[in-house]
């Protein structure tokens, strides 16, 4: 259901008209569109277009369970993120963790560094699916099947006490997950001017 594209030609034409400005040299006025670039077929785009947004509209078919996710996690993730998802020094972040002192979104006021985890920080569950599928495991990204990514997402959400330990995730159920601290995220209110924000 593609929306009918409308052009923003007027504004752009004004900005592209720089070819005229050189005066005495007599540069040729170039048209607003140069006809460059290669037309790309939809199936070619599909290879790259694997992002999943917060409404989960792009989630693929497939499903996975928490239990399967735990097994895959132990085999493919624990070496860097720790057996319990506690993270490791050297830039390997914690992926599981709900310590009491980091509940209630205390991060901004806290002078001690608190791990911001999927459970106590991340606003959208779809981000776990999208990120793990595109970027993990760090040394062999792109090797997980969609079913494995559903399983890992289920395991990480359950271990972070967001969904039950016996859950199965598919597109519909992942779409329905609401993260505990989603409502804490607010638009940037800094605008310049005299006030420090």
């Amino acid at each position: 259901m593609r929306m009918r594209p409308a052009l923003i030609a007027a504004a752009v034409m004004a900005l592209c008209a720089c070819g005229d400005a050189s005066g005495a040299g007599g540069a040729d006025a170039s048209p607003s569109r140069l006809g460059l670039g290669r037309e790309v077929a939809p199936h070619e785009v599909a290879k790259f277009d694997r992002d999943v947004g917060p409404d989960g509209a792009e989630l693929p078919p497939g499903q996975g369970t928490v239990a399967e996710g735990a097994t895959i996690y132990a085999a493919k993730c624990a070496s860097c993120h720790g057996a319990k998802g506690e993270g490791m020094t050297g830039g390997f972040p914690a992926v599981i963790g709900r310590p009491a002192n980091a509940e209630g979104f205390p991060f901004g006021g806290s002078s001690e560094p608190l791990d911001r985890t999927i459970g106590n920080y991340w606003p959208y569950a779809t981000t776990v699916f999208d990120y793990v599928r595109r970027a993990m495991p760090q040394l062999t990204p792109g090797t997980l099947s969609d079913a494995e990514v559903y399983s890992l997402t289920a395991y990480l959400l359950a271990a972070n006490q967001v969904i039950p330990m016996d859950a199965t995730l598919d597109a519909a159920s992942l779409r329905a997950v609401k993260m505990p601290y989603q409502d804490r995220f607010v638009p940037d209110n800094r605008k310049g001017g005299r006030e420090v924000k």
Partner: protein, 421 residues
Amino acid sequence: MTSRRDMLTKTAGALSGAMIVGVPPLRDAQNPRDRRAAQAPAAPPAEQPMLDDPTSAPGAPTSAVGVRSPQVAPVRTPTGLIQGSSLTPHQSLSGTITPADLHFERHHAGVPAIDAAKHELIIHGLVERTLAFTLADLQRFPRVTHTYFIECSGNGGGAFRRPRPEMTPQQIAGLTSNSEWTGVPLRTLLNEVGASREATWVLAEGSDAAELTRSIPMSKIMDDALIAWGQNGEPLRPAQGYPMRLLLPGWEGNACVKWLRRLELGTRPWMTREETSKYTDPLKDGTARQFSFEVDAKSIITSPVYPDKITRGWRPISGIAWSGRGRITRVEVSTDGGATWRNANLLTTPTPKAHVRFERMWEWTGGETILMSRATDETGYVQPTRTALIEARGIGTSYHSNPIYGWKVASDGGVAFHGET
């Protein structure tokens, strides 16, 4: 043994005879200058010795690629990690342009090796024509060249939360660099693909192993966003996104996606990991700012700094200032710990969203003091103290940190970082 006189005569012989008319007789071998020359070989070896008198023998021949003087060895701070950062040594730099090989690095899965002949930027989604552009395609559009800084929003986070006296400008502010960028305005490409009016957000994706993605509001894309392919007169360095990157002037570096391979036009942000888990700014009121792209005005003195030891007398207090919201209009310097402030000279005409160098001459007459700088931008925003930032945001906000930085001068001339402003 060839004396300097012999060499000069030989050289001169190869040139026009008129050129040696009026050359005064050379001093004899008793002169230390001449003795040194007598020992120098006729042809300079690969490892060029440093002569007491560099006029006493010819220097190195021309070379394919220039190198720094062996006396000058500024370095970044690599960590060996692929998800790490490496910082610009601001204390070693002058002027405003960061040499490309010293531009800071911040990667999430290393620097990919990309064949520019195979790399394409696909623009799709809410467009009339889905098109892919190679570097060669991009280079056929009208170009723009502008100087802009890039700053990682994590710049200064450590110095804000845990300031330590032995911090250098590199450690405090090395996650910003300033370059002359050449490329094509993104709105030109959006005209080429026929962007829909419905599009409000654009997803930018990199061709690195993190497939790093950020959602960018269409308003910025249509304002001054560039697809940059040139940096300081040469192609982008791989660490800066070769062959092409997104450049969002004045906005946090993470959003300026390197190795750009895809732009998707849509109607809502994608809530990627880099705009949720990371690069959001938690505040003390229990909220977190999201899509906090703009860089607040900031400055830092880069000389004198830790670990300098200064002597009495006059010297310039020199540093850089920048704002993501436009031009720097004023930089003030305090030499008494913030009690009084005086305008510094801006050594270049400030341009929007670029580093400007400031300087103020100062006479140290002995005794302890604290040097500080503070920047004002064209919106009237004044760089705040650390105390004011903690008051407004909380100590846990480490992104977009821009407090006034101080340098404490001890009575022995030793300089140390003073972060508690």
